[in-house]
Amino acid sequence: ELKVEQNPLFLSMQEGKNYTIYCNYSTTSDRLYWYRQDPGKSLESLFVLLSNGAVKQEGRLMASLDTKARLSTLHITAAVHDLSATYFCAVDRGKAAGNKLTFGGGTRVLVKP
């Protein structure tokens, strides 16, 4: 059974500093997604990582995937307040499992002035 772990579960950030969220998963997969969720809202797709070594960047966020290490990272550069949200990674279970997603537990990010 695929298990997905995110670290840390909670991250208090100072504006202007850099931080990294880690997503580890337990079985082979080469497809991983990052989502953002604001309180009481739905999930917004941030990145789709489809192969080993994939790197995607959008604004202050950069995501990467190392399928051999079964690890993805979400790097935040020069944090700003509007990045406060919960971030989820989700791993594709593979074709045999209907390409369904298993989500990590989420990392709640709070950016303080």
């Binding site: 739905s42 989820f88 390409n99 369904k100």
Partner: protein, 114 residues
């Protein structure tokens, strides 16, 4: 511009009283998913439809059922809601199951069981 629409946004029901949540999509996607998300937890997949083919997760309680009368609409029926079923219910769609397809989420329906 809304692509995945859920109604209602908030639903209050009584313990044991059947409730139906609605999802519609304008994307003409083949796949529709229902997730349950409890407070401060990750979304948990309940089931999905690939076109008309229904796929239930092994640990989804029998109390939860779904219908997809056409491509655009999918319903979640909770036959006898318990207090533990209070949660946010998220509908999502994707063009295909191929794994490279992003899932697009609706705004969710927050269910309260009294």
């Amino acid at each position: 511009d809304a692509m995945v629409i859920q109604n209602p946004r908030y639903q209050v029901t009584q313990f044991g009283k059947p409730v139906t949540l609605s999802c519609s999509q304008t994307l003409n996607h083949n796949v529709m998913y229902w997730y349950q998300q409890k407070s401060s937890q990750a979304p948990k997949l309940l089931f999905h439809y690939y076109d008309k083919d229904f796929n239930n997760e092994a640990d989804t309680p029998d109390n939860f059922q779904s219908r997809r009368p056409n491509t655009s609409f999918c319903f979640l029926d909770i036959r006898s809601p318990g207090l533990g079923d209070a949660a946010m219910y998220l509908c999502a769609t994707s063009r295909d199951l191929a794994g490279i397809e992003t899932q697009y989420f609706g705004p969710g329906t927050r269910l309260l069981v009294l």
